[in-house]
C-alpha cells in the first residue's frame, strides 16, 4: 500500500511544481525531492513556515500559492480562468479572519502613466470586489496601484507586457517588505 502511494504522491507533487512557480525566495518548498530522496513532509493548515505564513499559502501544490491574476490589454475584468484562484483566497480569508491582504494592480509599460495608475487601481479593485462578494471583509482588504512604475518583467514585447498586466494578492507579513 505504502509502496504504491508514495510514488503517486511524489509524482503529483512534481506535476504541481511544473505548473506552479515557486515563491521567489524559495522558502515555500516543503519537500526536498532532488537526489532521489523519498522523504515527505506532512502539510497541515495553520502550520507556519519560515516566512511566517501558513504552509497552505506557500505550498506550491496549493492554489493559494498562486497570487497573480492576469488581465487583457486595457481591461480590468477578471477572466474566467482566475475565478477559482480568487475563490480559494476568499475562502482562506473567510476561514482566517486575522489575515489581511494588500492587492497591488499593475499595467504594461505602454501608454499614459496616469491612465495606467488608474487602470492598475481598477484591476486591484476588481480583485478586491470579488473577494468581498465571496465573503472576505472590507477590513481584510486594501487595494493599491503601482501603474506601470514597478514592472515585474522589465523587458519589452508581448510576453513582458502580458506578465505585467497583473494584480497580485499579497498577504501581510512575509509577502510584504514593509508596509505600503
Amino acid at each position: 500500500m505504502n509502496k504504491l502511494l508514495l510514488p503517486a504522491l511524489l509524482s503529483l507533487f512534481v506535476l504541481a511544481c511544473s505548473t506552479t512557480p515557486l515563491p521567489e525566495d524559495g522558502t515555500g518548498a516543503p519537500v526536498e525531492t532532488r537526489g532521489g530522496s523519498t522523504a515527505v513532509t506532512p502539510v497541515a493548515a495553520g502550520d507556519l513556515d519560515a516566512s511566517g505564513l501558513p504552509r497552505a499559502l506557500t505550498d506550491p501544490a496549493s492554489t493559494l500559492s498562486q497570487r497573480s491574476i492576469y488581465f487583457d490589454l486595457d481591461r480590468y475584468e477578471i477572466k474566467g480562468e482566475y475565478q477559482s484562484l480568487v475563490a480559494a483566497h476568499a475562502k482562506f480569508l473567510v476561514d482566517n479572519r486575522g489575515f489581511k491582504v494588500l492587492i497591488q494592480g499593475n499595467t504594461d509599460e505602454r501608454g499614459s502613466r496616469e491612465y495606467n495608475l488608474a487602470l492598475g487601481q481598477k484591476r486591484a479593485d476588481a480583485v478586491k470586489r470579488s473577494l468581498l462578494l465571496l465573503g472576505a471583509r472590507e477590513d481584510q482588504l486594501e487595494s493599491v496601484s503601482l501603474g506601470k512604475e514597478k514592472p515585474r518583467n522589465t523587458g519589452s514585447g508581448e510576453e513582458a507586457w502580458a506578465e505585467n498586466r497583473r494584480a497580485d494578492i499579497l498577504y501581510r507579513g512575509a509577502d510584504l517588505r514593509g508596509e505600503f
Binding site: R113, L119, Q121, K122
Partner: protein, 423 residues
C-alpha cells in the same frame, strides 16, 4: 610633475564626464522649410563673455528650426556701428544683430544689442540686459527671445525652463533645466517613482506625484526655497495634479471612494476635496483650459477617450472619437489646440486637434510617445518617447515639421513639463 599633471587631466576628464551626464544634449532632427537667414556676429567688448552670449543666441535661433545662420565671424561691429545693408543682403542675411558686452561699475555684465532688417534697411530696435557674470547664457536667451519675437511675430521661449524626471541607477531625479537643456538642477531625489510634474502658472512652484511614502501623494514644491507641502494625501491613490488658471487650486485624481475620480483641492493643502466629475469608470488626467473648462481622460464610453467639462463643473462633452485609445489631453495656452496621445496600430503617438474644426493630425511616427507639454507660445510640444530602448525627450513643432531630441547620457528621461513665460 608629469604624474601630477596626468592626475589633473584625469580629474578634469572625470569632472567633465560627470557634468556631461547631468546635462541634456539636444539634437535637431528636422527643421522648417522656410527659415529666416540671420547674421549674429560676435559681440564687441569682453571677449570671453561675448563668445558665450553669441554662441547661446546662435544655438537658440538655430535650434528653433525657424532660422538659418549666415556666417558673420569676420564682422567687427557693436550696437552703434553703421550697418552696410547691401553687403549683408548680398550675403543672404535678412536680419543682423550687432552688440557688445562690458563689465558695469558694480561688477555685473551689461550686454547691449540692436537688430536690423537688411531688406527695409532699418533698425528693429534693441535692448540692454544686465546679468551676473555667471548668468551670461541667460542674457543670450533674452537676446534670442527679442530677435525671435521681432522676426516671427510671436514670443520666444528661450528664457523659459523645463522640468522632467530622470531615472538613473535606481534613483528618480526631478530636474529643472533651461529650455535648451542646459543648467540642469535637481529639485528632488527619491528612491521611488516621481511622476506628473506640472508648473504653477507663475513658474515658482511645481506640483507632482511622489511615491516616496510607498503610495502616490500629491506635493507642491517651491523651487527657490526647496520647501514643499502635501496638497493631497487621502486614503488610496492621489495623483494627476493640474493647476487652476489662477494658481490657487489643483484638480487632482483621488481613489478615496474606490474609483479614480477628479476632485478640486486648495493648492496649499487646506480644506476638503470637492468632487468635480462622477463616473463609474476611470476619470483621470485633468487639465484646465484658459477659459476654466476642464479636459480629462475617461473610459466611461468603454475605451479611454478625451472629454471636456464646461467651466464650473458643467456639462461634459466627448472630444476624441478616432481609435480606441486617446489620452493625456493638453490644451494650448490660447485654448485653440489640444495635444494628446493616440494609439494607432499599437503605436502610441503625439497628435494635435484643432478644437474649432476637430481636425486631428498625428505628428510623430514613434511607438511610445507620452506626456505632451506645450511651450508657452504654443509653437513646440515637448514629449517623452523611447529611442533604442531608452527614454528621451523630444520637442516637435505643432505643425510636425521641426523635431528636436533631448537626451541624458546616463539615464531614462521622462515626464517633461514646459514652464510658463518668465515674468
Amino acid at each position: 610633475m608629469l604624474r601630477v599633471f596626468r592626475s589633473f587631466l584625469l580629474f578634469f576628464g572625470l569632472l567633465a564626464a560627470t557634468l556631461a551626464q547631468a546635462q541634456l544634449s539636444i539634437e535637431i532632427t528636422g527643421a522648417g522649410a522656410n527659415r529666416i537667414p540671420v547674421a549674429i556676429p560676435n559681440l564687441a567688448g569682453d571677449e570671453v563673455a561675448a563668445r558665450i552670449i553669441a554662441a547661446t543666441v546662435r544655438a537658440d535661433l538655430e535650434r528653433s528650426g525657424l532660422f538659418s545662420l549666415v556666417d558673420a565671424r569676420d564682422a567687427d561691429l557693436d550696437e552703434n556701428s553703421p550697418i552696410a545693408y547691401a553687403d549683408w543682403k548680398s550675403r543672404g542675411a535678412d536680419a543682423i544683430a550687432a552688440g557688445s558686452v562690458r563689465r558695469a561699475a558694480d561688477g555685473r555684465m551689461e550686454a547691449r544689442f540692436r537688430l536690423y532688417d537688411t531688406q527695409k534697411e532699418e533698425s528693429l530696435g534693441g535692448a540692454a540686459y544686465v546679468t551676473g557674470s555667471d548668468q551670461l547664457r541667460a542674457a543670450g536667451h533674452r537676446i534670442a527671445d527679442f530677435i525671435y519675437e521681432k522676426l516671427t511675430g510671436e514670443k520666444g521661449v528661450f528664457s523659459t525652463r523645463i522640468a522632467y524626471v530622470v531615472k538613473s541607477r535606481g534613483q528618480y531625479l526631478l530636474q529643472i533645466a533651461d529650455a535648451d537643456g542646459q543648467g540642469a538642477a535637481t529639485a528632488l531625489t527619491s528612491a521611488e517613482p516621481i511622476i506628473s510634474p506640472v508648473w504653477s502658472p507663475d513658474g515658482s512652484q511645481l506640483a507632482y506625484v511622489s511615491f516616496e511614502k510607498k503610495k502616490p501623494i500629491v506635493y507642491v514644491h517651491s523651487l527657490a526655497s526647496g520647501r514643499r507641502h502635501i496638497a493631497a494625501n487621502l486614503k488610496g491613490s492621489n495623483s494627476a495634479p493640474a493647476w487652476s488658471p489662477d494658481g490657487g487650486k489643483l484638480a487632482v485624481v483621488l481613489s478615496k471612494d474606490g474609483n479614480s475620480q477628479i476632485y478640486l483641492v486648495n493648492a496649499d493643502g487646506s480644506g476638503a476635496p470637492q468632487r468635480l466629475a462622477t463616473s463609474t469608470g476611470i476619470d483621470t488626467e485633468p487639465r484646465f483650459a484658459p477659459d476654466g473648462s476642464l479636459f480629462f481622460t475617461s473610459d466611461r464610453g468603454g475605451s479611454p477617450q478625451i472629454y471636456r467639462m464646461a467651466p464650473g463643473g458643467g456639462t461634459v462633452q466627448r472630444i476624441s472619437f478616432e481609435g480606441n485609445y486617446n489620452v493625456s489631453p493638453r490644451p494650448s495656452v490660447d485654448g485653440k489646440t489640444l495635444a494628446f496621445i493616440t494609439r494607432r496600430d499599437n503605436r502610441y503617438q503625439l497628435a494635435v486637434m484643432d478644437l474649432t474644426s476637430r481636425q486631428v493630425q498625428v505628428l510623430t511616427d514613434s511607438n511610445k510617445d507620452e506626456s505632451p507639454s506645450f511651450a508657452p507660445n504654443g509653437r513646440m510640444i515637448l514629449i517623452a518617447t523611447e529611442i533604442g530602448g531608452r527614454g528621451v525627450l523630444s520637442a516637435v513643432s505643432s505643425d510636425g515639421r521641426i523635431k528636436q531630441r533631448l537626451s541624458v547620457a546616463a539615464g531614462d528621461v521622462r515626464e517633461p513639463a514646459w514652464g510658463p513665460f518668465l515674468k
